[in-house]
Amino acid sequence: MIKIIRAGRINSVQDMGRNGFRHLGICQSGALDRTALAIANLLVGNPRDGAAIEFTLGPCELTFTVDSRIALGGADFGATLDGQPLLPWWSVRVRAGQTLKLNAARHGMRTYLAVAGGINSAAQLGSRSTDLQAAFGGHGGRALTEGDGLSAGALDNPAAPVHHAAAFGVRAPSWYDADDTETLAIRVIPGPEYDLFSAATQKTFWNSSWTLTPQSNRMGFRLSGPELKIKKSGDLLSHGVLPGVIQVPPAGQPIVLMADAQTTGGYPKIGVVIGADLARLSQLRFNRTLQFVEADADAARAALRDEALYLQQIETAMHWLRPAK
């Protein structure tokens, strides 16, 4: 069991989210930074889509009531385990009674705590992710609060070589260490309504520096910058939308839809952030800037394949961990 002593901001149970129910208005949910979730899971011997705790900013504190193995993946929150520094991307054993503290994020926004066996709250509609709007899934359909107790699955799976190892870690993708005061480059495929914007407006979209406003949340990242005016207004009929879609409402300030985005929308879609860059975007801090870089579907798939290969390498490495002699 994991006991939450201090809850911090919006922390919730998330896995890779739910698919197959969008036609009923049920959104995807799931981790914003899927790369970090996958790596943290692999480091404790879980499948990559196991359920973990997503922490946003900090500070937070929790204790373990049983022995287990844990790993943090994502932003560096200056974490300590019983006072000893615990780096992200590092897999360690924990003993019952130990306390994990997450301080303020040093850079980035989110980190994931994976526990051997995964958080084993009941799956609903095929996922353990918390849908914060519809209030179901995860831990009672809500953000974690002080006093919550979360149970994890089979904590010590003797079949997994990972459990014989002492502490070990992996090198995370380099962008997690990048200087996040610089403008983040995010690759975007032009969207179905791209041509509803004039050539000059399209240029403005690519060439401007966009600031992430604090009005952003798991549903959408609101950006501020120059106004993007549509050539002629006219209502679009509502259509399906998904995480990564960049909508432009009448005020002309783009919104990037994120994991908790509603299933349908009616604003013009100027572009779509490629899947491989959504994790990067999810770590951008409020008031920091990004720039959109034009990409195509081939580049998007290549980036996804690179990431899949990288995760495969970690997964393979986990199989080769042997008991320390």
Partner: protein
Amino acid sequence: MTQPVIQALGENALILNTGASATLECQQRLWAIAAKAAHWPHVRDVVPGMNNLTILFDPLASDGLQLAEKLQVAWDSDSISQKTGRKVDIPVVYGGDSGPDLEEVARHTGLSPAEIVKRHTAAEYIVYFIGFQPGFPYLGGLDPKLATPRRSEPRLLVPAGSVGIGGSQTGIYPAASPGGWQLIGRSELQLFDPDASPPTLLQPGDRVRFVASEVIA
């Protein structure tokens, strides 16, 4: 019917856009395609919209071209969903605290509250698609006389089960949320239950009637 346009939405989705204004016949064709497409390999999700359809697929298993072709073929096959949908009655308490804007709709339309209820319950509505919230139906079939503009100030909290009119649309909020529609009544029916199968009371294609269980005017 005009030829649809199939467009990419990023690397992992396609939109089939009929370009038509909303008609039931077009929507029925889309439901038929949606039912098929949900079983195609590499497809993760199929979302009917208003006279359009979005499919999500695994971008590492498919580049979408083959799926786009299949969508086109499915459209050309000319099959219309024979599924008539279930008939669902939704009991509503109209007016009073349950429908605080019934008076406002009466003022705007020039109809009496009783006449509004009579017309609202007379129609059979069709669930064109579901979006915005789990189980939130976009209904076709509102009596044009009942059309009333949205409130100038959206409410911060619309109670779950509220039945509203927004412009020429009517619908029900399955969960409490902010909202700008004119609230004329409320139903006790649960429209979303994540543990039920299916998890929502209404599905695309269903036929809905509102039944006045009480009118407070």
